[in-house]
Each structure stands twice: as structure tokens, then as C-alpha cells.
Symmetry: C2
Subunit: 430 residues, 2 copies
Amino acid sequence: MLRTGCLLRALRFFSSAPCPRHKPSGRLSVRDALRAQHTSGERVKVQGWIRSVRSQKEVLFLHINDGSSLESLQIVADASFDCRELAFGSSVEVQGQLVKSPAKRQNVELKAENITVIGNCDAKDRGFVHIHTPVITSNDCEGAGELFQVEASSKIKAPEGNFFDVPTFLTVSGQLHLEVMSGAFAQVFTFGPTFRAENSQSRRHLAEFYMVEAEISFIENLQDLTQIMEDLFKSTAMMVLSNCPEDVELCHKFLAPGKKDRLEHMLKNNFLIISYTEAVEILKKASQNFTFTPEWGADLQTEHEKYLVEHCGNIPVFIINYPLALKPFYMRDNEDGPQHTVAAVDLLVPGVGELFGGSLREERYHFLEQQLARSGLTEAYQWYLELRRFGSVPHGGFGMGFERYLQCILGVDNIKDVIPFPRFTHSCLL
Amino acid sequence: MLRTGCLLRALRFFSSAPCPRHKPSGRLSVRDALRAQHTSGERVKVQGWIRSVRSQKEVLFLHINDGSSLESLQIVADASFDCRELAFGSSVEVQGQLVKSPAKRQNVELKAENITVIGNCDAKDRGFVHIHTPVITSNDCEGAGELFQVEASSKIKAPEGNFFDVPTFLTVSGQLHLEVMSGAFAQVFTFGPTFRAENSQSRRHLAEFYMVEAEISFIENLQDLTQIMEDLFKSTAMMVLSNCPEDVELCHKFLAPGKKDRLEHMLKNNFLIISYTEAVEILKKASQNFTFTPEWGADLQTEHEKYLVEHCGNIPVFIINYPLALKPFYMRDNEDGPQHTVAAVDLLVPGVGELFGGSLREERYHFLEQQLARSGLTEAYQWYLELRRFGSVPHGGFGMGFERYLQCILGVDNIKDVIPFPRFTHSCLL
């Protein structure tokens, strides 16, 4: 899921800079190849990256793209050309004859006479171990209060102590459990249901939603973390676009007309990073009148998030280093004087707002101990504090709301439209 | 996850029938190759199935096995041999020199001079669509009563109606939701957490566990269903054994000595099928004294399950066609006269007992309507009955407890040892 090189691939796929026609030695851009009117079998050379491979008994089909066009060029080759290196993301040079395609989908295709792999593309993941974190927990992770409580229904009818002896809740995050596991597996992730009992009917809240959460040991700065988050965003989008192009097309055509460009724009640009302090300065200078006056130390509101993303040219933007007082006890203290911040990061994206939240974790025993004491959580999180006593390492992680991610890349306005059985206040159908 | 050909592969991997030595034309079994003492570079030919592939820049490593040995033979080949068909499960003939291996793991390896793919192995799944079924539900699916109830904790402190307006529970099965989806996607599955508030401290019960559940439209008999279940059991075991041989080895060495033979025995034999009625007859004829006297119409108890599996030679056994009165309302009526049964199936396995449960579903409107009325569930399941009005088709499905499956293939006695954060009565640590 987390793949190297995704940024490059994203750029390759989505950049549609104009290419000059009629290059020497019969070399054509994919765009010019697709536009060719006279396909009387002239010999051409096309270079690009493989977007899909279909290997049949006697024929090999490739789709390649060089960034000159959103559409890809179909290559038809003899099965003898087939090799392991002809895989999604590899760069190739194909020589052959441009001919009229018998298929309806495209006008032309390239009959390959020679295929050279220029650069192999390693499809290996980054060695993250998938952990199943529990749904029922006795922690109320962030002290957020918006929890669902769980009890055996027989005990509700005839109360006689809790089923688990202690009050239990539906998880709001697998983070703390991932942190346990990251003490033995240096890179872990979880993907599963998460719950918030928020009384919200908004178009971006669900009572039950999926999160992908990752935790990385030995990570020491937020830049490394934001890089992984950006890679995850882009490589997953590339996977979805490559594996389900028709489904994405359907969404962009009927549900979200005009949102395709927005996705393209996000994928071909580097995400931005600004500090919370800078963000507040930008908001203060804004000509716009906000319902909530922007002020250092206050939470960013939806209207602020929206403004910041637009201000950044509708490119996703990481906001880092939030005030300590705004964030939960486990985030790492930046020790930066009067404007006291923690190494937290949120990613804001066009149309959706907050998509990722993450931080470096406080791995230093005495800092964490003090922070727990300040929050009145010393007893409840003794086990968590203990993790800092046995081979503690700098580490950090993040969570990404899966349905919001689908909203973002598919351009779907209401979160209830990207999940088969949505659960929200007053509604738990079926 | 569900793959064709797994039975064959299971047989290939696990049969260890003795092979005669010194075959003509230098052909050796994998066992004889591994036992070779004089590796002075003699030319040999080995045939078998690929168990792993590691492709490096200049070298290709294969492990192949022909069923003569649990250990595989390492093939070292020039990277030019590399091709897409050299994949897990393909059958190959390798000619080359048997040489002393520089690695510590094995004594000998085969330096390939020629590799011929005999049979390609298609690794495609069977086109099952993965559905996320919800955790919070307003159904109490089987009327089992052993449910966890869910409520916003703020509402528990100050009751003022339910968060979802109706009482809600943690799912005990995704089946009904899968049935909804199977009306549009002919083959679906889910893999996620499931909950039972059973007051049990047994070595095979958890309050929170994972289930893989599948639902298949247009299936008309239990035999087709049992075939898919058996394939899932065996192909998943093969995957685990191929991808994590060291981990499995560790379990079999330290946690479950002697259980490796049991797994091998399960994988190389066809699972058995007997009817509930036959099962009761077998139990009645048993010389063993049971705590619960076996009787037609009564549930099979743990002691009965254990006896039946042993009686069947410790091969997994499907029990089919249970009394209608023992099973939930949605199972398909066999209309078989006085000993009135439904098309239900459970799979019993050595060491664990019940591992799978499944059935054909009652797709006929009037049968289901009557069954709901008899169970007093007409109102609650009106939406489910309605599914039978719009393009209803014969269909069926099953669920498999994931932790019990791990217990079974790894030989681990206590279910709490195969999950990182076990939840059971009186215990919800972390």
C-alpha cells in the first residue's frame, strides 16, 4: 500500500504538458500517437510508463502513458515479449507499427516489434506489518468524550457488574495499540472500523468509519512523516486509477462532474507544509470575514481549513506544530518556548478539509509522565507510560479517514455515498 | 484468497510417498537431491512445483518441491531465465548441476542450465468482491441473545432516547448485509471483527474475533458450497505455509510439537461429508459414554464433535442437513418429510471442533414469510423478506472463524494465543 516512487509516477501520469509533434527518428508522444489519422503502418517509437498489463496466451497487451495525454496508448505484442519487468510503473521504449485498432475503445494501437525496459519499477511495499487492533477497548484514547459504550445486553437488562469488569468503549483509534506493536515491529499499520458518537449530520461525519493508521519507529522529524502521508495519498490514488478506471470515470461523470481536474491538480503537485502559527497569520491577514475570529491557541474551524486550502492554490497542505494545549497528551513536546507547540500534523485537502491527523509521539518517560499528570490520566495510562521504560525509541504515526479519502479522490460530496451501510445520528438502517 | 487448484497444490506439497532412487536419465526426486552426498557437479533433472520465487538483478532463486520431501530444493539460475510464468504453483522441469550450497540453510542446491515450465499456474482469485459490512447494527441476527449493546456514553449518563433512535448492537455476523450485496455482486465476502457476549472462558471462545464470510448467488446445492469451503481452508493454509514458513515452523516447534503431521494429514485428504442424521447414528453406536446422550433433534455437543472427527480419522468433516428447529430462520427448507431438515452445513476440524458454519438461504418468499412468522420476527425482518421480491435467486454462504482457523493450522491450543489483544469475560486489557 505504501510505495516508493509514487510521486514520480503520479507526476508521470498526470502531467499533460504539450509535446511538440514530429520528433526526429519517428518518435511520437502518446498524445500524437493517439491523434494519428493516417495509420498506414508507419514505424514509430513511443516512450512512457506502463499503466496496465494484460498477459494472454499468445498476445501481450500493455497500456503506456508519457504524461502528454490522459488517455493511454495500447501496445499489442507477441507473448514472447512478456517478462516480469513489464509491470505497472516500469518505463519502456516501444518500437513498432501504428495501426488502426480493431477495438472500439481506441482508434489506433501500436503493434510492437521491439520493447526495451528502460527502468524497472519495484512494486514492493515498504515492509509495514498489518496488525488487527481491537474494536472494544477500555481506553478512552483522546479523552474526547464522544464515545460509544459497550455492554452485554443481558447485563443491561439485569445490571450486575460489567461484562469485562470495567467500562468498555468502541475504539476511536488503534494508535495506542499500534504503539505497543511498534515496539517490536518497526513499521506497522491497521485498517479497520473506528467510531465516534458525535451528534453530527454533516456531509463528512459518520458514527462508524474506516481508518488506515500507521506507526513508524525510529522516525525523528515531521518531514519524514509527511512524506509517508503524501506517498500514501498519491500511491493509493494511482492504484485506484489504474485498477478501476471505469469506476472512477463513472463517479467523475455522473456524481462529480468537473472534479477530475481537481484530482489531477493534487496528484501532480507537491503538497505544501506550513506551521500552525503561519496558518493563523494567513487567516488574520485574510480579507474574508470569518464566523470564528482566527487567533493563536484556538482550533482551526471548517471555514478556516477551507480558506487555507484555497489560499494554497487547492493543493493539499500539511499544518504542523500545533499549540500543546489543543492536542492530546501523547504528542511530542517541541520545547519551543512561549508559543509552546507539539509535533502534530494535520493534512487539509480540497473539498473535504482534514483528511489525515498525525504526530511524533512523546517517547521520553519524564515528559510523558508530566503530561499525563497534567491531564489527570496518570492512573489510566500507566501501561502506556511503561512502554517508555523498555527500549523506548522516537516514533510517530498518523491516521487517514478512508471514506473521506474516497470522497476526496472520487469527488463525492456526501460521505454517506461512499459506504454501503452508513451509520450516523438517528440512523442505523439494516 | 479463494483459489482454484489449491487441492492439487496441497496434495503436491504434502504427499511424501517414497520415491525410488537413481531413476534413468539423471532424474532425481527432490528428496534424493537434498540427500545427495557427492555433489561434484553431476548433471541431474528435477521436476516439481514452485513454492517460492526470489528475483534479483543477476540471479533468480526458486524453491521447488515434488512431494517427496517437506523441505524444498533451491534452484539458482541466471536472471535471463526469469519470466512471468515462473510463479508460485507452476510446475517446472529443471536441468543442471547439483552443487554444494554456500548458504547454511541447505547442503546442496541446483545450478540451473535449463528451466522448462510444464504447467502455468493461474493465480487469479475467483472474483469475490470484498464488502465492508457494518459493526454497529440494529439487527440481532440470529436471535441468539448473546449480544453486546452499543450506546453513546453521554446518553448512558443522561438517557434521552437512543443515539440511533433504536437499540443497536455489535454485529454477530455480516451475513444479512452480504445477502443484500449479493443481490448485485454475485460473489461477495467480508473479513472483519464480530462479537459475542458469551460468558465463556473456554480455549476456543473470544468476545471479539474475526470472521471471513462469503455469500454466493446462483448456488443451488450444499456440495458446491462445501467445495468452496474446503478450497478456502486448503488454499489459505498453502499460502500461509508458502509465505511464512519460518513462522509456521516456530509454532510447530515450540507451541505445538507434533501438530505438523495433523496439518499435513488434513491437507492431503479430501474432507468428508455426512448428514446430521448419519452423525447421530454414529454417536448412538459409539461405545463411548457421553455426558449428553446423542438424540435426533438435539444440538451436537463438544464431546460429540470431538468423537465424530476422531471417528472420521481426524479428517475435517462437513455435517449437513440439520433439523430445522435447531437453526435460524434464514436457512433453506429441505422439505424432506417427517425428519424435517434445512440445508445447513458445519465443518468440524481436529483440535478445534466447529470451524465453519454455512447454509443455503431461503430464497423463496412464501417459505421465508412463514418461517419469520413462526419465529415472531416478521416485523423486524421485513426488509430482509423484501429482498426476496426483487430478482431473488438461490444463494448460500458461510462464515469461518479466523482465530480458530489459525489455531487449527498452527496447532495452537488456546485461542487467546493467536490474537494480539484478546477480549473475553472479565478481561479487556489495554
